[in-house]
Subunit: 275 residues, 2 copies
């Protein structure tokens, strides 16, 4: 007679319940683990050369049938693959249409010292960014622009928040993430490594176009991006070598954070191209 | 004895109920009206030189006290200002913390012919963009980059959706918006007006950096942006003069729609600067 444990686990099973707690930041911090949703993101997490330590993969039977390569990759890596019911899976996800697979991963963040030692050329520093969707979108844009790291400094949102993980579209696994560092320490560390520090702010005295014209972006650069509602406070702007505005050509009062970050990071990427 | 109508209106009052229906697209289309939330957006809607016809302003008494200039602006413009209860207001809004004021505005969209006749230099065309937050963010970025119009073509989301209105942060009132035009008609009209048509697609054969190096963005340009999940279908890409990719320098698989649009529109804005 098969043991009941061989059937898909119900929501109340203690391993499902333990994973479900990871939807809350305090439990993620305590367990040093977070949830990754959907086949694409779980595939990234399982990449053999990636930074993630996957503790467990939860999958509904139907999704296991649809993604046999995922199950095989997990098993090849010695990662337990656990069947669970659709209701149990729904309790682990935050999306309206979950895609049947969730992984429990160890946190990815690395110390600032490790980033600094690698002589980065382009780093995004988020200071007090609170919206997880914005943070994830900036991480994705930073990855696309070829940034060497993203620092979530000060009281920024937890990058392991489900919304941030989803908005990053896998980029969380692609470049080093630093968390829990005061903004001033991040700036000091990056400056000591030879990066100029540019604060992006709608009221900045320097125009991004002028910086591009003047080749001021050619060197290694850390960009500081502020909170979506109130921007960068004066004491953070004062830490920067320059405060830079993305020019507003029309009548918009400002750009949203992720848009401004993408324009700044791509300006740096363009200036860093080999000629 | 004061008439009961002088007290704040309750949710069931017929004018509140009529406004509440505007949360649904079919009623917005039928009444040719939409809802604008929050003092900043309502201020934009009431701007004397703006494109909006405001039919009514709903305000909770407390917010009327906090924004007397808004109430005065509405009254000066002959717009009825109606007090309503906080519960009635909450029924009109979609935000968790509504800011106490909502306006009913006439739809803003203009015919494509009007945009074409104005000899635009930079236009964003959204083809089948379905997420209202993305559409609003692109409208805001297009405004900031100095675009002359945004066309929501094909089966794109309704720009008067509450999420789109909020994400546009007032930009909906800043530049002409065209809706309900097939993508092919939008492309034909803009091309006839002398604009080159560039489709943005991660698999594009032309690199945005190369176009910038070669001054290919100096002329009037319409950018075509596709659906957030599946991009631009082949028949739409085939309408363009070139299909352009934003370079991916890192390991991200793609950029999100609003990020890619911002980078493309800002590349055009930079190329259009007077030298």
């Amino acid at each position: 007679m098969p043991a009941p444990a061989h059937g898909p686990l119900p929501p109340q099973h203690k391993r499902v319940a333990a994973a479900r707690r990871l939807r809350k930041r305090a439990f993620r911090a305590g367990d040093r683990a977070f949830l990754v949703e959907g086949p694409q993101a779980v595939r990234e997490a399982l990449a053999p050369d990636g930074p993630a330590a996957v503790h467990e993969v939860f999958v509904v039977p139907e999704a296991a049938g649809r993604h046999p390569e995922l199950v095989a990759a997990a098993e090849a890596a010695g990662v337990p693959v656990t069947r669970l019911t659709a209701t149990a899976l729904a309790g682990l996800t935050e999306t309206v249409t979950p895609q049947g697979v969730v992984a429990v991963c160890g946190l990815l963040d690395v110390p600032l010292a490790g980033v600094v030692e690698a002589r980065p050329r382009l780093v995004a520093v988020l200071a007090q960014v609170r919206d997880p969707g914005n943070a994830g979108t900036v991480i994705r844009a930073a990855d696309a622009a070829g940034a060497d790291a993203v620092v979530l400094a000060g009281a920024s949102v937890d990058p392991y928040n489900g919304k941030c993980v989803r908005a990053s579209a896998g980029s969380l696994f692609h470049l080093p993430i630093v968390t829990g560092v005061p903004v001033a320490d991040a700036v000091a560390g990056l400056r000591a490594a030879g990066l100029q520090v540019l604060a992006a702010d709608g009221a900045g005295e320097r125009d991004l176009d002028d910086l591009q014209d003047g080749r001021a972006l050619a060197g290694p650069t850390a960009w500081l991006f502020g909170n979506e509602a109130w921007g960068l406070p004066p004491e953070v702007r004062a830490l920067a070598d320059a405060v830079v505005r993305v020019p507003i050509h029309g009548r918009a009062e400002s750009l949203n954070l992720a848009t401004a970050a993408a324009v700044c990071l791509y300006a740096s990427a363009r200036a860093h191209r080999p000629c």
